[in-house]
Symmetry: C2
């Protein structure tokens, strides 16, 4: 399995501290030695750094973690290939990205989705995987759904949640699906087994900053909260704006804040 990291903030900030905490889990104190990647949004564009090598040994990740990359939306991933035969290549390294509607979309996944390629429900369209992972197939499938429903136009959080409800429910039936997805504005988090979050708010001294951090395993000793199973949460500027249960019973989405 893999480790996910996500951040949504009101104002751009760096994530050096979190990256420094994640890094040793990639092959040193954790087993996720098959690659790492981090996407930093700058407006509608994502700058992505990734390598199919252990995060803990990466000079490139050390370099990034020491630099002051400022961003309002970040998605990071450290990879444990599963099954091991899906190799350590650039094409198999998360996060994945595609352009849709003049924006970079970025996706990272923890879990496995056996049978996704053979299942006609997940047939692909214009977005095709470059590598061999279940994860990239799921990403292409979700983007195809968004492209068809939106006709390539930008969707608000509530509309995105409506479009993704059924596809996430269907994918979720295949196996383990903990994911982060972003269009540079919205940060979407969905987990059917494991994802935690914490919000940091600093309203003092004219700071006025608000940050959501997401991770499969809590990064610090603070009180991280587990996301409810099979719930899609959408964050904008460090705040939860939509929360929707993706269950067969289909409780309605809840507009938050």
């Amino acid at each position: 399995m893999c480790e996910l990291f996500g951040m949504s903030a009101r104002y751009p900030t760096n994530v050096n501290h979190s990256l420094a905490l994640l890094r040793p889990r990639g092959g040193q104190i954790g087993p996720h030695a098959d690659g790492w990647g981090v996407a930093f949004y700058e407006g509608r564009a994502a700058r992505i750094f990734k390598e199919p090598t252990p995060a803990a040994e990466s000079r490139c990740l050390a370099f990034i973690a020491e630099n002051d990359y400022q961003s309002s939306v970040v998605i990071g991933h450290i990879r444990k290939a599963n099954p091991a035969k899906v190799g350590r290549t650039a094409a198999n390294t998360h996060p994945f990205s595609r352009e849709l509607g003049g924006r970079s979309w970025v996706f990272a996944h923890n879990g496995k989705l056996p049978g996704i390629r053979e299942d006609p429900r997940f047939a692909l369209g214009r977005f095709q995987p470059i590598g061999e992972t279940d994860s990239e197939h799921a990403f292409c499938f979700l983007l195809n759904q968004i492209a068809e429903a939106s006709k390539d136009h930008w969707l608000e959080a509530e509309a995105l949640a409506m479009v993704l409800h059924a596809p996430l429910l269907a994918l979720s039936e295949l196996g383990i699906l903990n994911l982060l997805l972003s269009d540079g504005s919205h940060l979407l988090a969905f987990a059917n087994t494991n994802l935690h979050q914490i919000q940091r708010v600093c309203m003092e001294h004219e700071c006025n900053q608000r940050v959501i951090l997401l991770a499969t395993a809590p990064l610090t000793a603070e009180s991280w909260v587990a996301l409810p199973s099979a719930q899609l949460d959408i964050f904008v500027h460090g705040e939860l704006v939509v929360s929707r249960a993706c269950q067969p019973s289909g409780t309605e989405s809840e507009q938050v804040g």
Copy 2:
């Protein structure tokens, strides 16, 4: 204007020496201080590093140039924004990339194409620019042409040249169009004003390596050769495989080697 760099090789190699020669042109001995980027292919996937800051001052580029990134196809670019109002952002930094048919396509451009947005001949489809450059618009236009003609299937060099003949001719009428484009297998070079190449062959000592280097301005004192104006050259594994004049008179393409 900008500087382009391209490499196609029979076997993977690094381009550390060329990057070290290019780097000072980005804001130190040359005026191209508005960004830099390098794409290294690994199979069908491209790993892209880029920054909207001067190459000459970039610690990240220095780091890459010192590392041993091995690849058979490389596209690099250092940027001088033109007009200056098209800002120094990640979205405006070359090379650009998109997925088509399960491959990363990468594009970099030297020149300017005034009027491209307003001209109905260059209307866009499913590939849309993320930034504001003429260059990315031209890339999206060319990819749309390839996607429509190929129905998202992989094209051989000769078929690619046929598809791109008319679009390159039309774009070329707008202004300065010196470009590099790749799908990870083919490296395409087209210039209506300025692009040079040199081939290095090492057949001794069981080396058997063959490399084509392309650059707007020769990087060394060797005898670099200027590409004929308005000619599309396609390289595979360090060798020219198709050469096609893109002129109104339309001389037929020539299958080489």
